[in-house]
Symmetry: C2
Subunit: 169 residues, 2 copies
């Protein structure tokens, strides 16, 4: 079965974006090989809000990735380059995991929470940025259920970024 | 000058206690030598709420540590074993830092935020526990100011706890 990963940069105090969605605190670290990281995946599961941001920024097509968007309101005919899934999200994802292929990404904090609750998230890949934001969008929208996780690997970058990979139990 | 440390266990999603103050998610790790960690310090700066919890639990006397409590309402005569500081908190701490001695601890999240804003916190010692709490008391009460921090050391424990030490800039 293919694994579903949530990969995200986070401040030490647990925020994935600033209070107004700011990303300017995320260090651009040349030691992190984004292309190699990306090559492990061939599909991205995208939440509705995140997809609308991708539409605004005109980056709905992602080379090498099947983009699968969960939304009850968006119309497939408006977005021919992606797959819109309106219902049976869990069944669709379980079927996708059984198909041969690479690993699968999640884009979007609300979708992450929903898939975590459904037991579908396999791996958390967190890049802890050396900053305290003091407020913003939390890793996990409150209040979510408590989950034990297991540290499976780590990497310390020269920039001070701490890469932590956890398996979700 | 002596350094002021904030040492705390934190869930991966940035909480230092559960929604009702729970600590049961913190792993008791025999690999962590609490006594040796403690021996680096000879004074603790304590917030009022944290001190009231210490009073309830009858543990206001801490061998080897001068306990200094910041409160405008508590009376010194009621707590002869500790030092109550009612005003000029910053000046008192700056004077304390100049005296010879070991490093200084902070106990209490609100006091941490206040001292961080005053530029008095030198070191953050975070033990990242492998759990997602999904809600609770955040590392830093929102909304605090953004602060750059610098990773100065790390230790990975067999239990999956990630010890991260940062200098505050």
């Amino acid at each position: 079965m293919r694994k579903i990963h949530y990969c995200v940069a986070m401040s030490l105090d647990g925020y994935i974006a600033g209070p107004n969605g700011e990303y300017d605190w995320i260090i651009d670290d040349p030691e992190i090989d984004m292309a190699a990281d990306f090559a492990r995946f061939d599909a991205a599961l995208v939440g509705r809000k995140t997809f609308e941001m991708m539409v605004r920024e005109n980056r709905t097509e992602v080379p090498g990735l099947d983009v699968i968007v969960f939304s009850r309101t968006l119309r497939q005919s408006d977005y021919p380059n992606v797959t819109i899934v309106a219902e049976k999200q869990k069944e669709m994802i379980e079927a996708l995991r059984k198909k041969p292929g690479k690993e699968i990404l999640i884009w979007g904090g609300e979708l992450f929470r929903s898939l975590l609750e459904d037991g579908l998230v396999g791996i958390l890949d967190i890049g802890v940025i050396p900053v305290l934001l003091g407020g913003g969008i939390p890793l996990l929208p409150t209040r979510a259920a408590q989950k034990r996780i297991e540290l499976i690997s780590h990497k310390i970058y020269k920039s001070g970024i701490v890469g932590l990979q956890y398996a979700v139990k």
